[in-house]
């Protein structure tokens, strides 16, 4: 069987990040996302790309746990939802400026992730996966009962919140650019982790945790750190997304379906590769957008996702990038 696991792609490790071509590829993609809708003030394109960017953020950060360390985080959406709630609460009820609210949201969620992680990261495989579902559902059930956050009715933002940005139209653009920035950061983070000693440790854990421990990898610390790190940017993304939506309620914030889709994307694109998460997210979002509005197919979205995942797991476990690297091994030196 072809070895398409992450360690096999360790190519040009000795060069500093900004010298490597992939660094500039990420920059190019981010610029393209930012620039494309500006041509002709294309609001439709912006809305579509916004969703694609959110998927890329979720998938890239999930990749840190799933792709590198091999831990399935079914409930990764809990970071997105909690980030959303904290940000909306701070902006709406306590009148904080967006930037401050975002920062606090990111930090608090990372801290919570670290604490949750300490509890559940000693579990392996399926146990861990189920515990992450338990956490997502538990947090959702709790928030639905938590009155200061609106309980099940959710939190609203009055229309005045867009005033500091010059009105809703400008605010929507600014939020878009911020989301694109978070997307760029996610790709860079994923890349930087992979290229670092920390990332090497994670990948070792993913291949054989016990052996890694014997070889001196501080597994519990690395895992907790990875889990916490993988929470930060999704929390920021959640804050921005729900700020834009001006309304957040538990079923939308903690939608397990989104976690599932992020997982399918990581597997589709190629587990453990940075490019994979991005390309997979983009392709999947296009497909989903089409299915959503097509009369015949809007119910088949999950079926398509499921069939895709099954085919990948059974026949192409390395995903799209795995297949590409298999056919064109030289791509490994350029892409990650």
């Amino acid at each position: 069987m072809k070895d398409t696991t992450p360690s096999a792609t360790a190519g040009v490790r000795h060069q500093p990040l900004y010298r490597r071509p992939f660094f500039w590829i990420i920059a190019l993609v981010t610029a393209a996302f930012a620039g494309a809708p500006l041509i002709g003030n294309n609001v439709e394109l912006r809305e579509g790309l916004l969703l694609a960017a959110v998927y890329i953020i979720l998938a890239s950060n999930l990749n840190i746990m799933l792709g590198y360390a091999g831990y399935i985080n079914f409930g990764s959406i809990v970071f997105f939802g909690l980030g959303g709630y904290i940000c909306v609460y701070l902006v709406g009820s306590l009148n904080w400026p967006l930037a401050a609210a975002e920062l606090v949201a990111g930090l608090v969620v990372s801290l919570l992730a670290f604490l949750f992680g300490l509890g559940i990261l000693r579990l392996r495989g399926a146990f861990f996966a189920l515990a992450t579902i338990g956490i997502n559902e538990g947090v959702q059930a709790f928030v639905a009962n938590f009155e200061p956050w609106g309980g099940s009715a959710g939190l609203y933002l009055p229309t005045t919140i867009f005033a500091p940005f010059g009105g809703p139209m400008q605010a929507l653009w600014i939020v878009y650019f911020l989301v694109v920035a978070v997307m760029g950061a996610s790709l860079y983070l994923s890349y930087a982790v992979k290229a670092s000693k920390f990332g090497l440790g994670l990948i070792a854990i993913g291949q054989n945790e016990d052996a890694a421990i014997v070889l001196g990898v501080p597994a519990p610390l690395y895992k907790a750190f990875a889990y916490s790190l993988s929470a930060f940017l999704p929390a920021l993304a959640g804050g921005l997304y729900f700020f834009k939506s001006a309304f957040i309620q538990p079923p939308d914030a903690f939608d397990l379906g989104l976690s599932t889709e992020a997982m399918v994307i990581v597997m589709l694109g190629g587990r453990g590769t940075v490019t994979g998460a991005a390309v997979g997210a983009y392709l999947y979002e296009e497909l989903r957008g089409y299915l959503l509005t097509s009369e015949t197919f809007s119910n088949f979205q999950l079926v398509v996702a499921g069939v895709l995942l099954l085919l990948i797991v059974l026949f192409v476990p390395g995903g799209l990038m795995g297949w590409i690297y298999g056919r064109w091994p030289r791509m490994k030196t350029v892409l990650e």
Binding site: E44, S152, A153, T159, M169, D252, L292
Partner: protein
């Protein structure tokens, strides 16, 4: 990417009925819950709107100045989930070029859709969301046509008070924005009326096993039960209350008992009351649009089913939009909203007038609810209006059994 969107747009457009080349088109956008727990109520609402659209188009369209506009609906399935609503409404405005919007069904979905109305400056007729909080957020383009949640259970409480002034009541409601808003107001009104609230709890909307909470109702020795949520949970609650022989003297549930489907519960439906935005027997004299009887006949002819208040609300949304456009003699958003702000008119559905102060803009202030009860007439189960006394077609049966 653009090609895919374009393809989808063409497909959607091609699916709608062909229009004459020299007519102008007025596009109204909306999402409906073709799937999901809100499906039954949402479908009823959309049918009402469709009836209005077809009647207007059959009569030649909306007349505005020299132009005639044919009404075209653009719609997508929101699957009863809030997550898709904003994306879909944005698509309706930006891609399908909707000039006006109808709301989805249920307060939760209406609240999230309302944001898009404000962000893009399009008037949205809210025919399916009763929660009042939405109107306190500074929106300028929302128009609510139905009575707000605050007043839903007022009639039920007054009716019960007339029979049993110091009754013990249980308030058991679904944990969703609409039912919560209703319960909050009902709690206050119940206390003011002198009732003894012996149980006050919410349940998760997706609950199917009500036995723990029904046991609590039995333990509390309540005389009356008020609350519920939407169709799915309300119908299940009613059935299980009957199966567990909870022995209540008065039951008033939101939304569910108003659907013709509710009759399928058989003996479990008997005696249950429902706050209703409109009943077939209502006797409002319309200043614009058809009389109640004419609406019912037309609806039954088109859909082979009786209309409920969701259908009536859906129809009234279209009717009121038509009137506002005709008053303004324009389809320009600001002119039409000015017409809405000035309107105080009665249709077969009831009276319409919205609040115009910035703190409540769009909130419906003139429409009133009635209380209906399932009773047996000539061995057949049907709804009778039992409150207020001025509008009643039968007396309230108390106790239930």
């Amino acid at each position: 990417m653009r090609n895919l969107l374009l393809l989808a747009a063409v497909a959607a457009f091609a699916a709608t009925p062909a229009l004459a080349a020299d007519d102008e088109t007025l596009t109204v956008g909306m999402t409906l819950s073709q799937t999901g727990p809100l499906n039954i109520d949402s479908l009823a609402q959309v049918r009402g709107s469709e009836l209005w659209r077809d009647e207007v188009n059959d009569a030649g369209g909306l007349k505005v100045g020299d132009k005639r506009y044919k009404i075209r609906f653009a719609s997508y399935d929101d699957q009863s989930q809030g997550g898709r609503v904003q994306q879909l409404y944005t698509r309706l405005i930006v891609q399908d070029k909707a000039q006006f919007l109808f709301s989805p069904y249920s307060s939760g979905l209406c609240n999230t859709a309302a944001v898009i109305s404000e962000q893009y400056g399009r008037i949205m007729l809210i025919t399916g969301g009763a929660e009042p909080k939405t109107y306190t957020l500074g929106n300028k383009y929302l128009v609510q046509t139905i009575t707000s949640a605050d007043h839903y259970l007022t009639g039920a409480i007054n009716a019960l008070e007339s029979k049993s002034p110091h009754a013990k009541i249980a308030i058991v409601y679904s944990d969703d924005p609409f039912s919560k808003a209703v319960a909050t107001a009902a709690r206050e009104q119940a206390k003011e009326s002198g009732f003894n609230i012996v149980l006050d709890e919410s349940y998760a909307p997706a609950t199917t096993d009500f036995s723990p909470i029904i046991n609590k109702i039995i333990a509390s020795s309540a005389d009356g039960l008020i609350g519920g949520g939407h169709y799915a949970d309300g119908a299940t609650l009613a059935r299980q209350v009957y199966d567990q022989k909870a022995d209540l003297k008065f039951i008033s549930l939101l939304v569910a008992p108003d659907s013709p489907e509710f009759a399928s519960l058989g003996p479990a439906a008997l005696g249950i009351t429902v706050p209703s935005q409109w009943e077939i027997q209502a006797t409002y004299k319309p200043q614009i649009g058809p009389a109640g009887a004419a609406f019912v006949t037309a609806f039954e002819a088109k859909f082979k089913a009786e209309p409920d208040y969701h259908s009536a609300a859906g129809y009234s949304g279209g009717l009121l939009l038509q009137h506002a456009i005709e008053q303004a003699q324009s389809i320009d958003t600001d002119k039409v909203i000015a017409a809405f702000n000035a309107m105080d008119v009665t249709t077969f559905f009831g009276r319409f007038k919205i609040a115009t102060d910035p703190g409540h803009h769009g909130l419906q202030v003139a429409h009133e609810m009635v209380l209906a009860q399932w009773q047996k007439k000539n061995e057949k189960l049907q709804r009778e209006v039992v409150w207020p006394k001025a509008a009643q077609t039968a007396d309230l049966i108390y106790p239930l059994h």
